[in-house]
Each structure stands twice: as structure tokens, then as C-alpha cells.
Amino acid sequence: MSSETGFDPALYARFPTQEPRPPEEEEELRRIWCKPKGWEYLTVVNNNYVGIYYLGTAFLFFLLAGVLALLMRVQLAAPLMEIVPQATYNQLFTMHGTVMMFLFAVPVVEAAGVLLLPQMLAARDLPFPRLSAYAFWAYAVGGLCFFASLFVGLAPDGGWFMYPPLTSKAYSPGINTDFWLLGIGFIEISAIAGAIEIIVGVLRTRAPGMTLDKMPIFAWAMLVFAVMIVIAFPSVILATLLLEIERALGWPFFDAARGGDPLLWQHLFWFFGHPEVYIIFLPAAGMMSMIVATVARTELVGYRLIVLAMLATGFISFGVWAHHMFTTGMPPMTTGFFSAASMAVSVPAGIQVFSWIATLAVGKPRFNAPGLFVMGSIVVFVTGGLTGVMVAMVPFDWQMHDSYFIVAHLHYVLIGGMVFPLFAAFYHWIPMVSRRALSERLAKWVFGLMFVGMNVAFMPMHLAGLMGMPRRVYTYLLEHGWDLPNLVSTIGAFLLALGILLFLIDLARNFRLAPGEGNAGNVHGAGTLEWLPNALYAARSIPVVNSREPLWDDPQMSDDVAKGRYFLPRSATGLRETIVTSPLRAEPQYLQIMPGPSPWPLAAAVFTAGFFLGLTVQAYPFAIASGVLAVVGVLRWLWETDRRVGMEGVDIGADIRVPTYVTGPKSHGWWAMVILLVVMGMIFAMALFSLAFLWSNQPGHWAPPAPLAAAWTVLLLYAAALALAVAARALLRRGAGWAVAALLLSVLAAGAALWLDHGQWRATGLIPQASGQAASVFALQALQGCALVIGALMAAYCAARAVRGLVSQPANNTIDVTMLFLAYAAGQGLVGALFTRVIGIG
């Protein structure tokens, strides 16, 4: 077998070890990963707790958004009903879509990842527990405030895709729209934090020996999911930012009369919005693949093809965004590109469906609760997929676009592809976190009601669409003949709701939280590592993995793991820790020291929410104070990380020694920063695209850019900033002071460059309120300004750590990540200064 890191795989043969472990080891683990008490439930960072909080909150939003749907169905049960007033109805459908997409679907799968991944990969926790806690609290606090806007009539009412100009200041003067833009912009930050956590977790904290081809399929799904978030979410972050700037400052990004373009929003939104659908679907499909294998009691057929299907979905779903725009007057060849990609993206979905069917055919399927939901999911998802292929046909879409046919299609896809798998997952994995499993008897009723209700509710909507009923109507006239399908849909919706109500009753009767020890255990006989005997520190020892279903292939494994016969049967340093492994072959690389509970992630999250809420309600002093406190909170929580313990190398079992402190491209911190820079790079790239798009679509509004020849000073300063940042890493060998000085100088050089750049553009006389071009250029500079402010904060933080003697030499992670950030920022400034001057130069 070849090696990735120089680690000798032959060493795996030393496990399971034979000599008995001292009993106090386990007690120490239990003490280090202790249960919270009282207020500590708010400051926990362990994935068992954060995962459950996260899941519970996301499910709460599912219920709330579901209630909104029921209200809408009541209003539409008959023509010209006056139960829900028009303005309220418009808020209801906007909130239903927004909450389901942003506050339920994405968070709930992220929550599942946080809860399940460490156990499944046999890691002690995810690599950035405090980041998980921050992401959760930010989402929970922000989401609840956002939802509460409904109770005071201030909920957004522009539809979940918020098309300008309807959402511009002129046509939506209230702060309803700002609630959406700032609320959602904020929750996206939380999603990205979670994605970084998941990528690094999946690639770097797998059990030794778990090569990529032995990784549980759910981990593959979560990896693709998280990468897709990193690529897709920046687009909507930029879009919300631009629209908020347009609303607050009058910069016309989307106002055609002043050189903006309403279609720019649609491109930016759907470049996020369509991948979003697959972002939601993939983790659910990953759960399906795990559950199908267990239901059929056989290994997954076509594992390799499913991995390919997921990767392909991750790619091709970025080429379908404009199929939401077939009726915007796009020319035929361009619509054709998107039509073709929309067809292509259905192929991987078909591969997955047939893999599930093949697995069921090979095995002896059980009709237990997860099994029923899995089968129901296949039926419903295939139906939705087929209507999806239909609307991928441009001429058919011209008819069905924005009609109830689409409402039917998207609910089939999302309920079949996401909600049913999620319920299968609830039944499948609840025994892992609850003392009792859920009721199998009740589950048949839950499934039956949900399946029948779902079809009764959404099947008639296909017909309503063919009858010409547009979506987002708060009422309709009798003469259209839409009354019967709507009445049936309403009845179906309540059947579906009844099924979910029964599920809640089941939860109330049987769900007794027991993370770690005392759970119901492997009642379904699954074969993956999350079913090892567990405590809050996850598995007692971290096994060597030789197959995809280790528990099936090695019946001794659970016992060996519990007796500490594998890696890390104790705490090597007396602190929370986990083994960091290499990305492809999962060879042990070093021992990561993990941070423990802290109130600071919670504080930072609350103040971040306060910042965005303050901006929304235009309480600016409050917002600024909150923003400052949020930054303080983050820095305070970071302060305790990046520490060195006295021991340089420790025994992680069977005399295998690894270091406890690693810097450079091998370290998990470096990885996280690189991913964050990809996020920033995507935001920046989308901003460049916006400028180019406006140039191409509004040439009449284009003025000559600032002269290219004069830009050499700007470019030179940025190049110097880049060189200084990179030099800091080498200078650290000479002393922390040198490194910090280089970083600070880098910030100064980049700041000077931005100042000059801005001055040259001001000299052109372009005004951001008057032209889309100027607005885009100045927005790019504002982005650059933000990057530099963050960079300056980071450099100052490095300086503070240097003063307190916390910067290790000859290499240090805090210096490393600051260097990366500043080097990136300088590069971004350089590219921006060039690009803005080149676009429309002729």
C-alpha cells in the first residue's frame, strides 16, 4: 500500500492492542469531556450538544414555516376568501419560502453534519467546536428575530427571491425588505462557518485508515455540500449586500434607468439559488444511501457511482442557474446551454435512485420506519425529478414558469428529496441520541399520513398550473375553475400536517435526550462507526478502519474500541484533543488540542445578531456598539486557541508518536483560512462579474474608466503589501516583532494603495449614485476596504499576542493565517484595480 504522508500503513497491524488499559484513563476522558451543568448548557461547544440544539432549532423553523403554509392553504381553499388579508398573505409566502430554505433546510443538514460526522468518522469532535457553537447561536438568535418580524407586520413581502425593482426603496419603502436582506445575509455567515467546519472535519479528522474510498457516503455528501456552500453562498451574500447598499445609499446596481440592471440580481441570486436546491438535496441523499444499506442489510451497491454522482451534482448544478430565467428574454443559444446542463444534472440523480433500488434488490429490505420513508422518498423524488426534466425544456417552461406547476414540482423534489429522507434519518439516528427509539407502530401512521397528504396536496397543483394559475396569488376568481384543485390541495396539506403532528406526539412520548452514554444504541444493526459505544468524547479509542462498514466486517470492533485497544485510548495531554489525519488516506499526522466550553462564542453571536438587527431597524449607535462587542467576543474566544502544550510529541497508542503543534499547510487552521479565502474570492469574483455584466448589458451608461497608465503606483503598493505579508512568515524566525512589523506594514501599504485607487476613480467625476458602473467600482473598493479593516484587526491581534509572548517561534499558526489573509487581500486589491480599469476601456 502506498503512503501519502510517509506514515507506514504497516503500523496499523499493531491494533487492536492486547495489553489491558488502566481504568483511570476512561475516567479522565469523562472528566475532560464532562457533561454541562446549569448555565453551562449555554456555553457548551461539544458537537453532541450543539448538534442537538441546532437540529431542534431547525426543526422548530420547519414547524413554523409549515404553519405558515397551512394558513396559506386555508386562504386558497376557495376563491375570493377573506381569511388572510393580501398584505399578510404576501408576507406569508415570502416567509414560508425563506424560512424553509434558509432557516430549516440548510441548517438542518448542517446540524445533522455537526451531530453525526464526528461519531461517523470516529473523531472526538469537529475541529473548530467554538466555531460550531458560534454558527449555531448566530443562526438561532438571528433566525428567531427574523421570524418575529412576522408578528409585527414587518416581515418581508417580496417573495423568497426578492426580485428588484419590486424590492427597491421605490416600491418597498418599509424595513420589511431590510429584514430579509440583513437577516439572511447574516444567517449565510453562519452557514459558511458551518461549511468550513465540515470540510476540514471530513478531510482532516477521519479515523486512521479511512481512505476516501472507505468514507461513509454521508461524509462524502457533506463534503460536497459544504464545498458547494462555499462556492454558492458568496453570490447571494454579494447580492444582498448590493441591494442593501442600493436601498440605503441609492447606488443603482439594479436600476435600469441609471445603468443598473434588474437581471443582474436574478443572475446573482440564482447562481446561489439553484445550487442551493442541490445543497439541500445532497446531504439528504447521503442519508438515504446510508439508511438504504441498513434497511436492506447489505452494503451499498454502486458506492463509487454514488460518489461520482454527488461530485457531478456539485459541479453541474452550478451550470443551471438561468433555467429560472428562461422567460426573461434570454436569446435561444444561451437558454440552450442552461437547458442542456439542466438535463445533465438529472443524470446523477438517476444514478443515485437506481443505486438505491439495486441495493434494496440485493438485500432483504425491512419495512421499518426508516425503510418506509426511504421507499416513499424514492417515489416522490422521482416524480419531482421527472417534472424537473419537463421544465428544463425551454418551450414547456415558457408555459409553466411561475405557475402552480412549478410549485408542485419544487415541493415534490424538496419533500421527496429532502424532507422524507430527513424523517427516515430521524427514525434511523434518534436511537443514537435518545434513550428510547421512536415508536414503529406510530411511524406507520406518520408515514402513511405524510405520504398520502403530500400527494393529495401537491399532485393537483400540477393541474392548477396547467389551468393557468400563477404562483404567489393570495386569491383567485371563480371563473378560472381553479377552485376544486385548490380545495383538494388544502385537504392534503392538513393530512400532511396531521402526520407531522403525530410525529411530534411520538417525540414527546419517546424522545429522551441522552447524548453519548445511555442511548438506545444500534437498534437497526447499522455498520458504520457512529454506532460504536459512545460517550461525550465519542468512541473510547479511535479504530483503524479497513472497510466501509467496519462494524459488519469486524464484530469485535465495538468491544475493542470500548476497551481502548485502538488509537488514543486516553487523553495524551490532559486536554480535549483529536487525531488529525491526512486528507486522502487518513494517515495520522498530529494531535489537535481542542478548545473547551466558553461563553464567548455565544456572546459574539448575540452581538453579531444585535449588529445586524440594529442596522435593520436603523438604530445605528446600537449596531456599532454591538459590532465592536462581537469582534471583541470573537477575538476573546480565539485568544485561548493556538496554544502549545509542553509536550512536542505524544504517544497516540501502540508507541506511534505524533506532534501536538503543527504549522503551515498541514495544519487545520491553515486549511480553514484557505477555505475562508475561497469564500472571499468568490464574493470578489461575483462583484467583478457584476461590473462586467452591467458593462455588457448597459453599454449606453458606460463612461471611460480611470486611466490604466496612472495605476502603476496602486499596483506597486499592492505588490509590496503582498511581498511584506509573505515575508512575515520567514521573518518570524528572527523574532515575533519582525513578523508583526511586516504584517502591519503590509496593511499600511495596501491601505495606501486603496486610498490612491479610490482617489483616481473620484477624479474621473463618476458618482456612485448616478451610474451602475461607478456604483460597482466603488462597491468593489468598499469590499476591499472591509478586507483591509479585517486584515488590520488581525495584524493588531498578532501584535497583541506578540506582546504577551504568545507567538511561538520559528513558526506560528496565528501569524500564518494572518499572512494568508493579508496576502490574499493585497492580491484582491491588485486584481480589482486592474479589472475596473480594463472593463469598457475601448
Binding site: M1, D213, G336
Partner: protein, 95 residues
């Protein structure tokens, strides 16, 4: 990086191809020139897919993980190739 490049080869070809095509449609229009460019790029992308497949088929076996990687990559090239082919059709058929 090498492993990822192999695993994702077909999909990367698709992505590069797709975004070039979109760029042509968005910024160069749909006249005769752009259409020819689309066709040429499509032919090139298909040639790259074929070449990569040949390379993979000739590559030595390696251990379990490497064989798995190679077979996944071949399937990926097939899928990517089909998608690239579809992607080029509008230049011929949609006027």
C-alpha cells in the same frame, strides 16, 4: 492535489467548457462567430476527455485506493463527456 485532479477530471473539463460557453453567449452574443467558437471549444473539450480517458486506461493499477480512484475518474469522464456534448448542441440547433 493530483488525486483530486484525477477524481474530478471529467467534471473540471465540463466546468471549464460550460463557463467558456456562457461567457461567449453573455458577452459575445449569438452570431456566427460565437457559434463557431462554441463548436470549436466543444470539439476541443471532447478531445481532452478522450485523451484523459486514454491516459487513465493505460495507467498502472496501483493499490486499492488508486484503482478505485481510476475507475471513478473514468466514469466521470464518460458523464462529463456526455454533458459537454449536450452543452454544444445549442450552437447547432437553437437559433
Amino acid at each position: 492535489m493530483r488525486s483530486w485532479a484525477i477524481l474530478l477530471a471529467g467534471l473540471i473539463v465540463w466546468a471549464v467548457h460550460f463557463f467558456l460557453l456562457y461567457g461567449i453567449g453573455e458577452f459575445a452574443g449569438e452570431g456566427k462567430g460565437p457559434r463557431l467558437a462554441v463548436l470549436a471549444i466543444t470539439a476541443l473539450a471532447l478531445a481532452v476527455v478522450a485523451m484523459l480517458a486514454r491516459l487513465l486506461l493505460r495507467a498502472p493499477g496501483g493499490d486499492g485506493f488508486e484503482r478505485w480512484r481510476g475507475r471513478l475518474a473514468l466514469a466521470g469522464l464518460l458523464l462529463g463527456g456526455l454533458a459537454v456534448l449536450w452543452q454544444g448542441l445549442p450552437a447547432l440547433l437553437a437559433r
